[in-house]
């Protein structure tokens, strides 16, 4: 009967499995039944038994060697105190690092919000920068209309007797309308003077506020984007 169980145990465990079991045993993860199986195998297998002994020895010696205090470094009480004080001396002042870290962490935590905030900031900067910077006189209108226009310094004159058929947009200038305009007249950052002889059939607009100007930019770019 004993012979039979031994044989079964032996048949059930190959050397590969036995080595694995040895490691588990050294990890402290082998239960009694499994250990008995391992023992049974080793009683019949000289190779595994030898490996078991070597591994157990290695394990014990490694443990021992690692646990031994770090003697060869000649580490004294003073070394310990020195290291401690040099660590503490190296620490940055708390206030600064904390507020910085908090801000940076906030940025990491809300990437969407950060991107949106960045976008708004960049938008505003670019829009305001371009509003403030441009002080060049810009005139836009249809080509046939522009040939009638007289420019004198930063004054744009629609002369008496001429008739513009399209819209006229002037940036950074004074518009004097002496003739007739069929379309709209828009003045950005400037003045409009309508002479007694002048006539504007469409709307006339003067834009000199940043917000008006942005609104104008937005609506004109939207209407430009939508084909009519």
């Amino acid at each position: 009967m004993i012979e039979r169980t031994k044989k079964v145990g032996l048949a059930a465990m190959e050397c590969k499995v036995a080595i694995q079991a040895i490691h588990l045993y050294l990890d402290g993860e082998l239960d009694i039944d499994q250990f008995k199986q391992l023992e049974a195998h080793m009683n019949n297998c000289e190779g595994c038994k030898q490996q078991y002994e070597q591994l157990e020895k290695t394990d014990a010696m490694t443990q021992f060697a690692m646990h031994a205090p770090v003697m060869n470094t000649a580490r004294s009480e003073r070394d310990i105190a020195d290291l401690k004080s040099s660590i503490l001396a190296q620490l940055p002042t708390k206030q600064q690092t904390r507020s910085n870290a908090r801000f940076v962490r906030w940025l990491y935590r809300y990437p969407g919000l950060t991107a949106a905030a960045m976008f708004i900031v960049v938008m505003f900067i670019s829009v305001f920068a371009s509003w403030d910077q441009d002080n060049k006189l810009i005139i836009s209108g249809s080509q046939e209309d522009l040939q009638y226009i007289v420019i004198n310094g930063n004054t744009v004159i629609v002369p008496e007797g001429s008739k513009l058929t399209g819209d006229l947009v002037v940036e950074n200038g004074i518009v004097e309308v002496k003739g007739a305009v069929d379309g709209n007249v828009t003045v950005i950052d400037g003045k409009m003077v309508l002479a007694s002889t002048g006539h504007i059939a469409g709307q006339s607009k003067i834009i000199d506020q940043a917000l008006d100007w942005i609104w104008y930019k937005v609506t004109s770019s939207i209407s430009g984007a939508i084909p009519q």
């Binding site: 694995q20 490691h23 050294l26 990890d27 490996q51 070597q54 591994l55 020895k57 290695t58 394990d59 010696m61 490694t62 443990q63 021992f64 060697a65 690692m66 646990h67 031994a68 205090p69 770090v70 003697m71 060869n72 470094t73 000649a74 580490r75 310990i80 290291l83 401690k84 040099s86 660590i87 503490l88 190296q90 620490l91 940055p92 708390k94 206030q95 690092t97 904390r98 870290a101 908090r102 962490r105």
Partner: protein
């Protein structure tokens, strides 16, 4: 969860330097021990300990209170040690000053750099053989073996520290043990 440690972390977070000093007191030798086993060099081990505490201090707010403090601090120290081991590889001349560590030349990389004659006597020959064998372990096995044996951490704790599944740790312990066995086979 160690109550004292979590308390100290909380105080240090509020800017209490004395509490942080207490943490340094509690951990510096453990970390030094570990780093020295990894690097086998006194200066570098001290550097690792310093860097570790600096990082801990700067990242105290990021410390996850559900994690053991020891796990966290060991993780930082192990990573720093492994970084140094990896950087150290291509050292060719003993006289050439290392490009990675200012003021260190090849001689200071030699394990026996600062053994005094007296301390030499205290280490048995067997121990030296074992340490030499441990020193030849590739870094990924070395860190696992050192953490496993030095402070008798459980495999789970080693896994937490190295941020790896326990199964991986087990495999590495087994391979590391096998590696050492082969190294020591003829010497012991």
């Amino acid at each position: 969860m160690n109550l004292l440690e979590s308390q100290l972390v909380k105080l240090a977070l509020k800017g209490d330097q004395a509490a942080f000093a207490e943490l340094v007191e509690l951990y510096q030798e453990k970390l030094y021990h570990m780093a020295y086993r990894m690097l086998n060099n006194r200066q570098e081990a001290e550097d690792v300990v310093q860097d570790t505490f600096l990082r801990v201090y700067n990242n105290l707010e990021r410390y996850d209170v559900t994690m053991k403090f020891s796990t966290w601090i060991y993780r930082i120290a192990t990573n720093l040690s492994i970084d140094r081991l990896r950087k150290r590889k291509p050292v060719y001349s003993l006289d050439a000053e290392s490009s990675d560590y200012e003021g260190l030349d090849g001689y200071s990389m030699i394990p026996s750099d600062n053994r005094t004659p007296e301390s030499e006597l205290l280490i048995s020959e067997t121990q030296q053989i074992i340490h030499q064998a441990i020193d030849t372990l590739p870094p990924k096995y070395k860190s696992v073996m050192i953490l496993r044996y030095i402070h008798e951490l459980s495999l789970q704790e080693v896994g937490d520290i190295l941020d790896m599944p326990v199964t991986t740790i087990k495999t590495r312990v087994h391979r590391g043990r096998e590696f050492l066995r082969k190294k020591l086979e003829h010497k012991l």
